[in-house]
Amino acid sequence: MESSKTNVQQPFKVNISKNNKAFIWDAETVNKLRKDRIIGSLIGSLPRYPLQNQLLGLPLSLMPEEVTLLLSKGIIVLIDDEKSHLLPTKSQIEEFEKNKTENEEQQLQDYLRFIKEKRSKFQSLKKNKLKKNDVKEIENITNNDNDHNEIDDSCSQQLRITEHESSLIKAFAPTITIKTSSNSFEWYNDKNYCFDSLEVARLAGLWTWPSTPKEKYKFNIYCDLWNRGYFITNGIKFGGDYLLYPGDPLRYHSHFIATIIDMNKELSPMDIITFGRMGTAVKKSYMLCSWDTNEDKAVYVCIEWAGY
C-alpha cells in the first residue's frame, strides 16, 4: 500500500498518454489543483461498483486548455507516459510473479483460518445449546452437516474437515489488486521524460496544443474566463464548450453555458431561440464567446429568454 501522507508539492506530475490525453493518477494532486480552480474530470471506473458512472475515480482527465494553462504557469510538468514505462527485466518479472504468488497464498491461508475460527465458534455455541435460529446462521457459514450425530468419531470428523478444506481451496478466488500509480514499479522511470515548459514539450512532440488558429483563440478565451475567477468544466452536458461556476462545482450550480464561435459565424434566429430557451430552462445564461482579432480581446454575448 502506498503512503497516504506524501505531501506532494508543485510542480505536479501530469501523465500524457500515447493518444495525447492528460491524466493525473495521484489523489492529492487532484485535490491541490482545485485551489488553482482546475477541476478536471474523474474518469476511472470503481472496481467494486463497475456498473455505474455516477461515481468515478482516478485518473483525473484534464482538458487541453487546462494542461496548457497549468504548464505555462509552471504548476505542472508533463510526463511521457509511454516512454516512462520501460520493459521489465527478466529478474523484475520473476520478482513480481514471486510476490504475486506469495500474496495469493497469504490470502488463502487467511481465508482458511477465518473458516476454522467460524467452525470452532459454531462448535462452542452448539455446546451452549443456543436457539436453533442463531445456530442456523453460523451453520450456513461453516457448511456443517446438521444431520450428523453430535458425538462424532473424531477420526471421521477430521477426514470430513480435510475433504471440505480441499474443496474450499479449489473454490477460493484471491483478490487481485491493480495499482493505480506506476510509481512503485521498478521498471517505471519518469526522470528522463519530464517536460517543464510549453516550448520543451512542443519540441519533443509530446504536447502541441494549441496549434491551429481556432485552438489558439479558444485558449485565449479560456484564459480570459479563468482570469476572471471562474471555475471552468466541460460543457458537454448542456451542449456547450464550457460550464462556468462562481465557486467550487461541489458547492454551486453553474451560471453560464459558454460556447466559442467565430465573430462571423452565421446564427439564425432559430439558433438564438435554441440557446436562449435551453439556458433559461436550466437556470443558466447561454454565453456566446468570440475572439476579436482586431482588438485582441474576448467578446461575450449572453442570451436569455424574455418571458413577455
Partner: protein
C-alpha cells in the same frame, strides 16, 4: 387606427415593414404593454421600439424587431450595440452609454413573435 403611428416608418424602411408592424401590434394589442414608442435609428437602417410593460415599470425596454430568416453574427450584434450607443440620449429616453441589453423580437410568417434578451458582455442568469 393603431398602424397609423408606424405607417411612415414602414414606408421608409420597406424591408423591415412587416416585422415592425407585427411586433408593434403584438406589444400593443396582444401583450397590452402600457407604452410603446417607435424610434428611427438611421445608422442601423431600421426602427426599434421603446416600451414599458406596465405603468409602474421605470426602465424602458429596447425592442429590436427582426425577421425569422435574418442572419446574425457576433460581429453584427456588437455593431448593433455600438451604433445604439452613438444615438443621442434624447431620442432614447435613457443614457445610451448604459445600454447593456436589448430584446430581439423575432417575427414569424404565421404571426408568432418571440422575445429574447441579448446582453452585451457577461450577464449572470436572473433566477439563479
Amino acid at each position: 387606427m393603431k398602424l397609423d403611428q408606424i405607417s411612415s416608418y414602414c414606408d421608409k424602411y420597406p424591408q423591415e415593414a412587416s416585422n415592425l408592424s407585427q411586433v408593434y401590434l403584438d406589444l400593443t394589442t396582444a401583450k397590452s404593454w402600457a407604452e410603446v414608442k417607435v424610434k428611427d435609428i438611421e445608422p442601423l437602417q431600421r426602427c426599434i421600439l421603446l416600451g414599458r410593460t406596465s405603468k409602474s415599470d421605470t426602465k424602458m425596454i429596447i425592442i429590436v424587431p427582426c425577421a425569422s430568416n435574418e442572419i446574425w453574427t457576433i460581429e453584427k450584434i456588437t455593431q448593433l450595440f455600438s451604433q445604439l450607443r452613438t444615438v443621442p440620449s434624447l431620442l432614447l429616453d435613457c443614457d445610451p452609454n448604459n445600454i447593456k441589453s436589448i430584446t430581439l423580437a423575432i417575427a414569424f410568417p404565421d404571426s408568432t413573435v418571440v422575445y429574447y434578451k441579448v446582453h452585451d458582455g457577461i450577464n449572470p442568469p436572473s433566477d439563479n
